[in-house]
């Protein structure tokens, strides 16, 4: 009985914490998806709870591609890459937290005007489904410059 119990325990716990190993990286893009439907994962698995978290990347080593302190358009592109789903929603809606934060990164104090300009240019900014963060960044810069949208 002891054996059976130990086996159960080990099996269960292994599945519980199996949910989140994988390569390190920044944020969501680096979460390795396991089969969410698997029962053990559901019973015990807390995919990204600190109990099993692995989203570690040392502050001093090779983190530049996740960081916001890059120079020039770099920081905006990093932001856009990580927030692109939400940013696309906000631009289509002309309003939202992600849009407000990004407009502050472009040095705008008020995101009302920039919201309307970007909304009107949605298809210019997102010409296809898989456009890169750098392209999005430069399109937004251009629109802000030409329409003087940034107050």
């Amino acid at each position: 009985m002891k054996k059976v119990f130990m086996t159960l325990f080990v099996l269960l716990s292994s599945s519980a914490f199996a949910a989140s190993y994988g390569p390190q990286g920044c944020g969501l893009g680096s979460i390795v998806f396991t089969d969410n439907s698997s029962l053990v994962d559901q019973v015990l698995g807390a995919t990204t709870n600190g109990l099993s978290g692995n989203q570690t990347f040392g502050m001093t080593s090779g983190t530049s591609n996740c960081e916001l302190d890059g120079a020039g358009g770099q920081a905006q592109a990093v932001f856009i890459k990580a927030n692109r789903v939400s940013l696309a929603n906000d631009i289509a809606r002309g309003n939202g937290d992600t849009l407000a934060s990004l407009s502050r990164m472009y040095g705008c104090s008020n995101h009302t005007a920039i919201g309307s300009s970007l909304q009107a240019n949605y298809e210019v900014i997102f010409p296809s489904e898989r456009v890169s963060a750098y392209e999005i960044q430069s399109k937004i810069s251009n629109i802000i410059a030409t329409e003087k949208a940034c107050i």
């Binding site: 969501l28 015990l44 600190g50 289509a92």
Partner: protein
């Protein structure tokens, strides 16, 4: 020329002498003040008392110490650290000088020794850049609430956010630009088994990491649809300064990560303890830490919490969007989301209505297809693109969702996580008995629901013992050990339906006719549906059952299947009851049919103290019992 040379040597010596004198003066003062006994010094070095009466640092990297014996000798470490700060910078890379590597210890001495401590000021480029990026007006302890249909996620996760702005409604939007400090384990294996054992045994290294907070918003708020609760802390600017400096210091070391003891929450409190040792947060925690416990400790510390706010999950936002739709709009919305075809949105409707429908559609797609959207599956990207283009063509802004702070869901209001129970009862077969139980975590449906996931039961490590003075049975028995007992409900409702299910793994004393008082390993899995009508919940499952015991029959096991029903009634936070019934047919065992039905009532008469009454009727037996529960 020669005179010049001698002058140089003289001056050099003089400077070294002055510097040396200053160092000795600083050392003498530090020793006189017994700074090596200072609580803050101990917190900075992460010293913890050992059983032998000494101390040992929890930091496991030797680079964290300036003295070879530093990990267990606070005084030697203090002396070596002061000397290290006075070293003239020889490295080409100034960032490797102790003053640049241990800025919090430097601050500590500056504050404690004043003008007597004056080592050379260095231009620590790396640290200064870090300090600038982390610069904060205030700090918040952030807690991620449960992830639906993953009951174990109710343990939560905590991190610290360094708020660029003072937290308030207006600055909420800019939280995305804040930095956060997170503590987690670095996993070095792909083997699930090693992973699990290592997590409990502390094989993996835990590290602090500073990352932009938006990664956490995307991960928890959006992808996992969990509310993020922020407890803004009352810290002074100098306190924030030393925390930032200490986070930097931590990059030179690592800790062993233990899932249930030295985990993310434990190490977040360590950072706060560095700022103000008097709070003594870490030591006030129990040995086994569940992240939500940290909120209890922080909330109980007078004056520590300044304000509480939350960032609603994707699911909560979607619900708020759906609530704005009127009947016609809802009708149009439901047609539209069948295949996400934007031309199904009624053209007759006003722009305002179309905006509401499309906005709800955007959130619905993101919620239901969170995984597909994130991993950029072609079909969902295509749908999404069409909706967003249609939305952008209506040149009006969407208004901000007004989601009220759900005050009775504050996670710190929940009952404590561990529970013990003492009780007595009577069964037909055993006559009277006394019971003792201990539950490591976390919640069942009759515990006070405030601050908990209302749709889940998550119990881990539940031990139940029974003592019966009766001659017929064993005196003191382990009645049950539930390693995990989980019920996850997803009440039927339009657009949010998911499977409801339950799982049990443990061992139980099967007090039925097939096996009197044998402790048998038991597994149960069930699924079905549930529904909620205001404060009444019910679920109906088909549940399978598998138990092992020689006394069940000559095969030594039983396999069973049957329906199970529970009606849960929660009219108030402090009063809850349920009515339950289940029936199972078995194969392989002697006994072929078993039924149970009964009711259980629980009343919380003082916070974290409850009284429980249970009545259950079984095949040839009945039981009634009562117990006092204490949560801690």
């Amino acid at each position: 020329m020669i005179r010049g040379f001698f002058l140089f040597i003289f001056l050099f010596h003089a400077i070294v002498q002055i510097s040396h004198a200053s160092q000795e003066k600083a050392l003498a003062k530090a020793l006189k003040l017994e700074l090596y006994k200072d609580k803050q010094w101990h917190n900075l070095l992460h010293y913890r008392p050992t059983l032998l009466g000494g101390v040992k640092s929890q930091a496991d990297g030797q680079a964290f110490f300036n003295d070879p014996a530093g990990s267990s000798d606070p005084q030697a470490e203090l002396i070596a650290t002061i000397r290290a700060f006075y070293q003239s910078p020889v490295h080409k890379n100034i960032n490797r000088h102790p003053s640049c590597r241990f800025p919090a210890r430097l601050l500590f001495f500056k504050r404690k020794l004043g003008t007597d401590f004056n080592p050379q000021e260095l231009n620590c480029e790396g640290f200064f850049k870090f300090r600038k990026k982390m610069a904060a007006a205030s700090l918040s302890l952030v807690f991620s609430s449960y992830y639906l249909n993953r009951p174990a996620s109710a343990f939560g996760h905590t991190l610290l956010r360094f708020n660029k702005n003072k937290a308030n409604e207006k600055t909420r939007a800019y939280e995305l630009l804040d930095y956060s400090v997170n503590y987690s384990a670095t996993i070095t294996t792909n083997n699930a088994l090693l992973y699990a054992i290592g997590g409990f045994a502390g094989w993996y290294n835990g590290e602090y990491a500073a990352i932009p907070y938006f990664y956490k918003i995307r991960e928890y708020n959006d992808y996992e649809s969990r509310d993020l609760w922020s407890y803004e802390l009352n810290l002074t600017a100098p306190e924030i300064e030393i925390i930032i400096a200490h986070v930097w210091e931590m990059s030179s070391t690592y800790f062993k990560y233990f899932y249930f003891t030295e985990n993310c929450s434990y190490h977040m409190l360590a950072l706060l303890d560095v700022a103000r040792p008097a709070w003594n947060l870490q030591e006030r925690m129990a040995y086994l830490i569940i992240p939500v416990d940290t909120l209890h400790v922080v909330a109980k510390t007078p004056g520590l919490v300044k304000s509480i706010s939350f960032r609603p999950s994707q699911r909560r936002k979607l619900k708020a969007r759906l609530a704005t739709l009127n009947k016609t709009e809802t009708h149009s919305f439901l047609k539209f989301i069948e295949n996400f075809e934007t031309d199904k949105v009624d053209h007759q409707l006003s722009d305002q209505s179309k905006i509401k429908i499309l906005d709800a559609g955007i959130d619905y797609l993101d919620f239901v297809y969170a995984k597909e959207v994130l991993s950029e599956k072609t079909q969902q990207l295509g749908w999404k693109r069409k909706i967003l283009i249609a939305r952008s063509k209506i040149p009006k802004k969407s208004i901000d969702l007004n989601i009220q702070l759900p005050k009775n869901e504050f996670p710190h209001l929940g009952h404590y996580t561990r529970r013990i129970g003492l009780g007595a009862g009577r069964t037909k077969q055993l006559q009277e008995f006394y019971s003792f139980q201990y539950r490591f975590a976390l919640h069942d449906f009759l515990d006070p629901p405030n601050g908990q996931n209302p749709d889940a039961r998550m119990e881990m490590g539940d031990f139940r013992f029974r003592y019966s003075p009766n001659k017929l049975s064993k005196k003191f028995v382990l009645e049950e050990f539930a390693f995990v007992d989980v019920v996850s409900l997803s009440p039927l409702q339009r657009l949010f339906s998911d499977m409801s299910w339950r799982a049990y793994f443990g061992a139980k004393s099967l007090n039925d006719t097939s096996c009197n008082e044998c402790l048998a390993p038991l597994a149960q899995l069930g699924s079905g549906f549930s529904q909620r009508f205001s404060f009444i919940h019910y679920y109906l499952f088909l549940t399978s059952d598998f138990a092992l015991s020689k006394r069940l029959g000559h095969r030594g096991m039983r396999l069973g299947l049957g329906p199970e029903l529970a009606i849960l009634v929660s009219p108030r936070n402090d009063f809850n009851f349920k009515i339950f019934a289940d029936y199972k047919v078995f194969t392989l065992s002697r006994v072929k049919k078993l039924y149970t039905y009964g009711t259980e009532w629980r009343w919380q008469y003082i916070k974290n103290n409850s009284f429980n009454i249970l009545y259950a009727k079984k095949n040839h037996d009945w039981e009634w019992s009562s117990a006092f529960y204490y949560y801690f």
